[in-house]
């Protein structure tokens, strides 16, 4: 936000440039990050994630500032994940998480000082959904490396984070958040617990996932429980000796046959990222203020990025399985932002008023000083300069986790023990293939799950 000067306001161009320079650097930095993403994107589209990660590393000093470190680590952690560099990916994402923690603590106590700053010069601490979904990647990194115990730790951290956010918003007393539980992560926890042999705990997690899809995701984000979830509940219930509960979920169309299928085969579970998370752009609200000023507030708005894929399936030499959408990241981001918009607008307006008051203060102090020296108009000049700077540099914070997909899908396929080649096929609304990713050397063991993670921008 910023103040538009009175038409009569004047300033020396050199003075103005001096004052504007740091703000222009911030604007350039935001554009630098966007430019970097645009250069990295073709490599992502080609599936060359290792090169994309190297490119991002090379651009670090030029395009990213320390205040953007959360965004940098999230982006590089994601690229490294899809490049198969699992340990390095986790390291980046944990670095992002630690920075988020520190910044979250600071933001709670930052207070009035933040009112006078442009949001782009503040340190980016990440959106709520970004703070949670980073754990999906850390959990996947561990699961793909066969470390179920640590994968579960990451899922628990996600649940702790959601709880902390809920508590924070409750204390804030505002509108809060509508993203209070992550159904997909509950389900993933269930699968991991089942793999570990903790069938009772798995049952609890699957039922939580089912309830979260039904109670939150369906009404708020437009997707209900995935078709395979009732079957997961039935299997876990049977393994826990809870036949009555199994019967209850059998009524939803689940057969319970997956227990035998898993006993005779292994299961391939592919987590599929589709599209790109929404882009932030500026929207402005302008309102008149006393003294002929215009108060202008910049707010970020979310723009979904269109993608072609409407259906994803696995194909293992003719054995096929359809994927199901499990995490509508784009919808979560857009709906939660819409829910919080009145709070965000109120904060931005308060910041605009604080800046307006600061300009008036500069004017009054400057005029008093110039009267003291027998001249006049210094305060008006300074006030005018500052308000011009504010006007032309007002910009919303458009930083976000650019490499995060718009949606996550899950595909599951029972395969006999051995090594397989599996294709992940992406199709548009007309059923035309828009992308295909081949998973070579998928090793399947009887009774066990094999996890894979792929991504398409199409």
């Amino acid at each position: 936000m910023h103040l538009c000067p009175r038409p009569s306001g004047s300033s020396h161009p050199a003075v103005r440039l001096l004052l504007v320079a740091p703000f222009l650097a911030v604007v350039a930095c935001q554009h630098g990050m966007m430019g970097t993403y645009q250069r990295v994107r073709p490599y992502m589209a080609d599936g060359r994630y290792g090169e994309a990660a190297e490119m991002l590393t090379a651009a670090k000093d030029e395009a990213y500032n320390k205040r953007d470190r959360v965004m940098f680590w999230l982006d590089r952690g994601t690229l490294r994940h899809y490049a198969g560099d699992l340990e390095a990916s986790t390291e980046d994402l944990v670095a992002a998480e630690k920075a988020m923690d520190v910044l979250f603590t600071k933001s709670v106590s930052r207070g009035v000082a933040s009112m006078l700053t442009n949001p782009t010069v503040t340190e980016y601490e990440g959106e709520d959904y970004e703070k949670v979904l980073l754990y999906l990647y850390t959990a996947l990194n561990h699961a793909m490396a066969g470390d179920l115990e640590n994968a579960l730790v990451e899922v628990r951290r996600a649940q702790d984070r959601l709880h902390a956010l809920e508590v924070y918003y409750r204390q804030e007393g505002g509108l809060g958040t509508i993203y209070t539980q992550d159904a997909f992560l509950y389900w993933f926890a269930g699968i991991l617990l089942e793999e570990e042999g903790s069938h009772n705990d798995a049952l609890v997690a699957f039922r939580r996932a089912f309830a979260a899809y039904q109670d939150d995701y369906a009404p708020l984000f437009g997707i209900g429980p995935p078709p395979f979830l009732a079957e997961d509940v039935v299997r876990a219930a049977l393994r826990s000796g809870m036949d009555d509960l199994a019967s209850e979920y059998r009524a939803l169309g689940a057969s319970g046959r997956s227990t035998e299928a898993l006993a005779a085969n292994g299961e391939l579970i592919v987590i599929i990222g589709v599209g790109e998370s929404p882009l932030k752009y500026d929207t402005f609200i302008t309102a008149p203020a006393p003294g002929g000023y215009l108060i202008r507030v910049a707010l970020p708005a979310l723009q979904p990025i269109p993608f072609l894929t409407r259906r994803v399936r696995l194909d293992a030499r003719g054995v096929r399985a359809d994927a199901t959408i499990v995490e509508p990241v784009e919808t979560i981001a857009v709906e939660n932002y819409a829910h919080r918009l009145p709070n965000i607008t109120a904060m931005a307006t308060a910041r605009a008023i604080a800046k307006y008051a600061a300009v008036k203060g500069i004017e009054i102090a400057g005029n008093a000083a110039s009267r003291h020296h027998g001249s006049s108009g210094l305060g008006d000049l300074l006030g005018g300069v500052v308000s011009v700077v504010n006007y032309f540099t007002e910009e919303a914070d458009k930083r976000s986790w650019r490499t995060l997909p718009a949606e996550f899908h899950v595909a599951r396929l029972y395969l006999p023990e051995g090594t397989h080649r599996v294709d992940v096929v992406f199709e548009d609304a007309m059923g035309r293939e828009v992308d295909r990713i081949s998973l070579e050397e998928v090793t399947i063991r009887v009774g066990r799950r094999t996890f894979r993670s792929v991504r398409s921008l199409e």
């Binding site: 320390k66 470190r69 680590w73 944990v94 670095a95 630690k98 920075a99 923690d101 520190v102 115990e149 640590n150 579960l152 730790v153 628990r156 951290r157 649940q159 702790d160």
Partner: protein
């Protein structure tokens, strides 16, 4: 040391003398399943597990079998022997059966000390289970508290 204290406690309980009395003084065979991290904290439990195993082994009061996650290496070695047709190839008859299983896990809780600092409380629980009867013959718990250091990554 937590591992030392817990194992000392375990080995001074009645189950040990009871077992020896019933088995003509034979030492019990214990399979130790490594300590599981059931918390939401990133704890390396392998180090603690090894300490527990070392305390058990050095006590001389029990015999220790390889942990389940180490068995893969043993099986691989036996498979290799089998493929070479060695004298003991595929001969699993010398494997001992475990009389007891020792399991354990760690959970954590965040607390605040008198100075407003975040203190992490770690609760370690271990159980000894008779493999034949599935009876739990010993359970130990140890709680330790540590001040959390919020170390950030350097940019």
């Amino acid at each position: 040391m937590v591992a030392q204290e817990m194992i000392q406690d375990c080995l001074t309980r009645p189950w040990l003398e009871g077992f020896k009395a019933q088995n003509l003084g034979r030492l019990p065979v214990v399979r130790f399943h490594s300590i599981k991290n059931r918390s939401s904290d990133r704890i390396d439990t392998k180090f603690f597990s090894k300490q527990v195993e070392r305390e058990l082994l050095n006590s001389g009061q029990v015999e220790i079998l390889a942990a389940m996650d180490e068995m893969t290496d043993v099986f691989n070695e036996q498979e290799l022997e089998a493929s070479k047709g060695g004298p003991d190839a595929g001969d699993y008859s010398q494997e001992l059966d475990a009389d007891f299983i020792l399991t354990g896990w760690v959970v954590t809780q965040n607390e605040t000390d008198g100075y407003g600092r975040t203190v992490k409380a770690y609760l370690v629980t271990m159980e000894l289970i008779d493999t034949k009867t599935t009876r739990k013959v010993w359970m130990g718990e140890k709680r330790i508290r540590k001040i959390v250091d919020q170390a950030a990554y350097s940019w």
